[in-house]
């Protein structure tokens, strides 16, 4: 009786082994997960972070360019498809809001008309001076028009947008981006058909600014505030100057116009406070640009740049 049992067991053993091997394969398909894969992926992520942190112009930047080249046209297509629908809410407005807007515009009109009446002389003198400086500055700058086709999510904690003009349109990194209200940001990197723009409201962004009234200079930093107002802080170089509320701040420009060309309006002073410990005065600047509804922007390129689209010259002509 004892001998058949071991024999029987011996006969079944190989088949059990085979079964186990198949179970092992099943495990790979979705049974018990393998830790090694998780560890490998985590390590891959960490080494990607290290690689990007340590190298400025390495393989990660090449990857960004490659992904940008492929996704750029797709982003432009998607944004173009959606744009007509995004405009729908602006058609549906109550009579009250329209009436309110008419009255605000009438008030503003009246104010501007009175201002114009008194400032004719100032304007003429300013135009002469402007003409002089402009001539000295080699003809000012040319604008390449572009549309915003992608906006980085706030979850990434940085404020960047993609525009649909790239190196083919004559855009290179460190160029000023503005719209008809004022300064938008600067170009970080380009692909052939797109460019990534760092908005001035990003916490990493620093812009040299000049107070319109006192000509004092300072540095504007994005507050990284999470609401759409996109407020900036102005940190004045001279701690004894008190900026007045309502003062206009413009860029004071960088060497050779990169990354910021001079004289672009940024915003108005909305709040001032001083810090006794740092003996400096800070001001909160409310930008002219509405960052939540950015669409048509212009990139300031040197005069005479070759572009794949019509560009706006400094004298207002289109080339």
């Amino acid at each position: 009786m004892s001998s058949p049992r071991p024999g029987h067991q011996r006969a079944t053993r190989p088949s059990r082994g085979r079964e186990k091997r198949w179970r092992g394969l099943e495990r790979l398909e979705g049974g018990r997960p393998s830790r090694a894969l998780l560890v490998a992926l985590l390590l891959a992520s960490v080494s990607l972070i290290t690689l990007d942190q340590q190298t400025d112009d390495g393989p990660v930047e090449a990857g960004r360019t490659a992904v940008g080249e492929t996704l750029g046209p797709l982003q432009a297509g998607a944004a173009g498809l959606v744009r007509p629908f995004a405009a729908v809410p602006s058609w549906l407005r109550t009579q009250d809001s329209l009436r309110h807007e008419v009255s605000t515009l009438e008030a503003e009109n009246a104010r501007l008309r009175s201002e114009q009446a008194t400032s004719g002389l100032d304007r003429n003198r300013l135009a002469e001076l402007d003409g002089l400086t402009r001539a000295a500055e080699d003809g000012g700058f040319t604008l390449v028009p572009a549309r915003v086709i992608g906006m980085g999510p706030m979850q990434s904690f940085s404020r960047t947008v993609t525009i649909d003009a790239g190196s083919r349109a004559g855009i290179t990194p460190d160029m000023t981006v503005l719209d008809n209200d004022g300064l938008v940001g600067r170009v970080l990197r380009t692909t052939r058909t797109t460019a990534t723009v760092l908005l001035v409201m990003d916490p990493e962004s620093v812009v040299g600014g000049r107070l319109g009234d006192s000509m004092e200079i300072g540095f504007l930093r994005g507050r990284g505030s999470i609401d759409d107002s996109g407020e900036l802080t102005l940190d004045l170089v001279d701690g004894t100057v008190a900026p007045g509320e309502g003062d206009t701040v413009v860029t004071w420009g960088s060497d050779g116009g990169a990354p910021y060309v001079p004289g672009v309006p940024i915003g108005t002073v909305s709040q001032v406070w001083s810090s006794p410990r740092e003996t400096a005065k800070f001001a909160v600047i409310e930008p002219f640009v509405d960052f939540s509804s950015l669409d048509l922007v212009g990139v300031a390129v040197p005069s005479g740049t070759r572009s794949d689209r019509g560009v706006l010259e400094a004298d207002g002509s289109i080339r």
């Binding site: 006969a11 079944t12 088949s15 085979r18 079964e19 198949w22 099943e26 790979l28 398909e29 979705g30 997960p33 894969l37 998780l38 992926l41 985590l42 992520s45 960490v46 080494s47 990607l48 972070i49 290290t50 690689l51 990007d52 942190q53 990660v60 990857g63 960004r64 490659a66 992904v67 940008g68 996704l71 797709l74 982003q75 998607a78 944004a79 959606v82 995004a86 992608g150 906006m151 980085g152 999510p153 706030m154 979850q155 990434s156 904690f157 940085s158 960047t160 947008v161 993609t162 692909t191 990534t196 723009v197 990003d202 916490p203 990493e204 990284g224 999470i226 609401d227 759409d228 939540s292």
Partner: protein
């Protein structure tokens, strides 16, 4: 089969990425948009388990890190989404791979996944001081993102789960076929 699966998952991630960057920005709430890539990873992990979830999480994260207009240190979303894919997959493995998750549990999973994903991303940002954000602002963003992800769940997750299950049923059918082919063999061995 696995090639088709990979292509389908890749397409889902690409569409999610394009929607998130170019379309959803019109619906942004203080700059926060639904994290569609994260939702795709959650859906895939719920159907396929932790390994597929982690691999897809890595792919989607690298795409988020590199696609314009991203400017943060690359690899941060990859790390966050690997963790999310793995954890959600483990959740599904513990509940039993065959059980279909109820709507409520899917919403809860998305909420937890969104919190974990955004938090891991924010935490690496603080470690690298990538953008130096305040803790309060960071928390507000994380909570807003969580709410928005939950709002987007009923529109996105059914599609993702449906697509994933379609390719899944093909696969499990193949598995069943292979099992039935194998089953008689041990039986025959015992018989002899």
């Amino acid at each position: 089969m696995s090639a088709l699966r990979a292509v389908v998952a890749f397409l889902l991630v690409t569409v999610a990425l394009l929607m998130q960057v170019s379309v959803m920005s019109h619906l942004a709430w203080n700059g926060v948009v639904p994290n569609l890539c994260l939702l795709v990873v959650v859906g895939a992990a719920l159907v396929r388990g932790p390994e597929f979830g982690a691999v897809l999480g890595f792919a989607a994260g690298v795409a988020l890190d590199l696609a314009p207009p991203a400017d943060h240190v690359a690899g941060r979303w990859a790390l966050a989404l690997v963790v999310v894919g793995w954890l959600v997959g483990r959740l599904r493995a513990q509940n039993g791979a065959e059980a279909r998750p109820s709507a409520g549990s899917v919403v809860l999973t998305v909420a937890a996944a969104s919190f974990v994903g955004s938090s891991v991303f924010a935490f690496t940002g603080m470690l690298l001081s990538d953008p130096a954000m305040g803790v309060r602002d960071t928390l507000v963003v994380i909570v807003t993102a969580l709410l928005y992800d939950v709002v987007a769940t009923p529109f996105v997750l059914p599609v993702v789960l449906g697509v994933m299950r379609r390719t899944e049923t093909e696969r499990s059918r193949a598995t069943v076929r292979r099992e039935t082919r194998l089953e008689p063999r041990p039986g025959a061995g015992v018989g002899r």
